[in-house]
Symmetry: C2
Subunit: 408 residues, 2 copies
């Protein structure tokens, strides 16, 4: 019998208790022993709930119980999660978390402490909810030099963009609807400004390339300025606008970016709609792979946390190896990357070609006779910004995901 | 330094040598030590090739070298792969393979021998090529009660069906083209009759549900009888015909089936085209997840084999746990499953409803005025077969993948 504790009985924490209970037998078979929850730590009371008898308000109950070997941290935020996690690891207990803020901010230090104490700090649930993307990078694609990681990593924004595309809603309406349905928070900034996706791509990139990518270094643009007209143009050129969190290895180094991007049917992420998440990983041997599933929600996220708990119980006294070193990953400036750009423009195609060189996919919308839309060729973003910035005919622009087939 | 050997220097074996060579440093970093290939076993000579100096024709060179701890088996077939693998495991060497025939036929016995000798028999490359689906089932979705595994597991047939759909080719033309391009073999039976997909779903189902599913028990239908008209009807009702290998947990037990099926856009497998493979896995907590990538090819398959080699080197003297017991999984008769059926029919919709009850999606093709197509409601296959079998107006029929949204 292995003993666990859960810190934070919110959506995910309650899911962890539920998954460990409902799949108790099958988990015991796969783990080799049963896993019992001895404590649930929360400031609140839950009278009448199944955890009433194991509820504690005192962290030291968990810290000082020598039989508790694995602790689930589903409190979220940095305080007191950081301090608690550190103390638990130092006390020789493994910690499994869904807390992406904490992993992105202090993951390197916490993993180091875990190693020094022969325990684990695992965070499968921190990126992509139920999608086992962390294990794919840590344990499956180990023979690969990873070349690119690109994901739809935030369900809220994907839901909003999908409903703008499919139902012609504008951003405000779509956000309000997402809030009503519980897919967006009352204060939705972390999602709609791209900060959540940014932390996740920082974590995934660190694992993929082996050095620490600080999330603060990643240029991050959200979806608040995407409007109905942009969506209509995207459809006209056979694309969708998706909030992509992406990083890529170039000859010169690694760059990373969070941005609404136009992608077409050459990209398997284009079909990922609603609250679903997906991550595309490219390796130099395996080529393109993709992983799809629920990026949030109580049970899917809890499933990932419990998978980590099982791994801890299966590896007592042993730190599961990963490729996340403390060394800092320098990032290339994202604006040195060349790609096509989609431009909304109030001049003629001929004028546009004078500025941008050869253009393609020139389209017009009936209700916007004053402008055209088009795609440029491959231009370094820096150059594109210089050309577009000084030109009052450029109304708006988007990055276009590189066309794989054309490129390779 | 860890020493490995490769048995069989064909497409996959050569890929294994290439991946271990080109990603040598990154693999060493992830593994904790370098991996060196000491022998390549093949009956042929490869003068001038990079493996010339490590080539052997004598299996006992590998068997008797105490420093070789991991052996790659990419010979294919049962003879002599089975005998070689058994001897190696008994000699305390781990074996990693892409040989689905051998895993499906003798996997249970070979895993047992591996356990008894504290080594590993790993087969990530046996299903889905570079898609890390075996590890997903063994190590990631460990908190789940798996409810369904459904895959497009054969690239040849998916290529043929895609080219029939997109280019209006008939089966013979599409097969000939696939053979020209090297996507189909000269003797394509194992692919087009569904036998390859059958072995793969047997392996995946065994891991998913924890008991041995013998491939011979799985009803298997190939794509040789699918014609252009069927494809045209599928498009008319918003579907694609895909060769699905599927198994599912019902209240009463597990069933499995390989069959061309009509699936629509509610199913993430519908968009998987060409030689790509994908596997959908549903769990009772995580819901629907999907894994996509190259199902074949030298480097993608080799990448999966090398990932297994790395795991063996990282776990010396330890058998990595999985949930594949030797116990036999009884299968439910596939024809007790209820689902909608698509029917090509030479009567009227009214006549059809008299036989099958309420029908929907009644369509007609201009070049087939003598018949209609329609979908039945949910009918147990056994009942459907009784109704359709005695009715000369039923020309052909297909299973329609259950509509998730309607169902859940």
């Amino acid at each position: 019998m292995a003993y666990a504790a859960v810190m934070g009985y919110g959506t995910v924490g309650a899911g962890v208790v539920q998954v460990l209970t409902m799949n108790r037998e099958i988990i015991a078979r796969r783990t080799g022993e049963e896993i019992d929850i001895r404590y649930v730590l929360d400031l609140r009371e839950f009278p009448g709930s199944p955890v009433e008898k194991i509820l504690t308000h005192d962290f030291s109950d968990i810290l000082n119980d020598p039989e508790v070997s694995v602790v689930v941290e589903t409190m979220g935020g940095l305080k007191p999660a950081y301090e608690f996690t550190k103390q638990l690891l130092l006390a020789g207990k493994s910690v499994c978390t869904s807390n992406k803020e904490l992993v992105a901010e202090h993951g390197v230090e916490l993993m180091k402490i875990a190693r020094e104490n022969n325990v684990n700090y695992l965070f499968e649930a921190s990126c992509g909810g139920g999608i086992p993307i962390i294990r794919v990078l840590n344990s499956s694609l180990t023979a690969e030099r990873i070349e690119e990681v690109t994901g739809i990593l935030n369900g809220t924004t994907n839901y909003i963009l999908t409903s703008m595309t499919e139902q012609g809603k504008d951003f405000g309406q779509a956000l309000a609807e997402a809030q009503e349905k519980g897919y967006a928070e009352l204060h939705p900034e972390a999602d709609v400004e791209g900060w959540d996706a940014c932390r996740k791509i920082a974590i995934l990139s660190s694992l993929a390339y082996g050095k620490h990518v600080p999330y603060g270094m990643i240029r991050t643009e959200g979806i608040t300025s995407v409007d109905k007209t942009d969506i209509a143009y995207a459809e006209k050129i056979g694309c969708r606008i998706k909030l992509l969190a992406t990083s890529r290895r170039e000859k010169e180094g690694i760059w990373a970016l969070v941005t609404p991007m136009m992608i077409g049917k050459e990209n398997p992420l284009t079909a990922v709609d609603g609250v679903m998440n997906a991550v595309m990983v490219k390796g130099n041997a395996v080529g393109t792979t993709m992983y799809y599933g629920s990026g949030a929600g109580s049970l899917p996220t809890a499933s990932a946390v419990v998978g980590d708990v099982i791994d801890c119980v299966k590896h007592p006294g042993k730190t599961i190896r990963n490729d996340y070193s403390g060394e800092l990953q320098e990032l290339l400036p994202a604006d040195e990357i060349a790609r096509p750009f989609f431009v909304r423009y109030t001049g003629t195609p001929e004028e546009a070609e004078k500025t941008f060189g050869k253009i393609s996919d020139v389209v017009a919308l009936p209700d916007h006779p004053e402008e055209i839309g088009f795609l440029t060729g491959m231009i370094a973003e820096k150059t594109f910004r210089e050309l577009a910035g000084g030109d009052p005919r450029v109304k708006r622009w988007f990055r276009r995901g590189k066309n794989e087939e054309a490129e390779e």
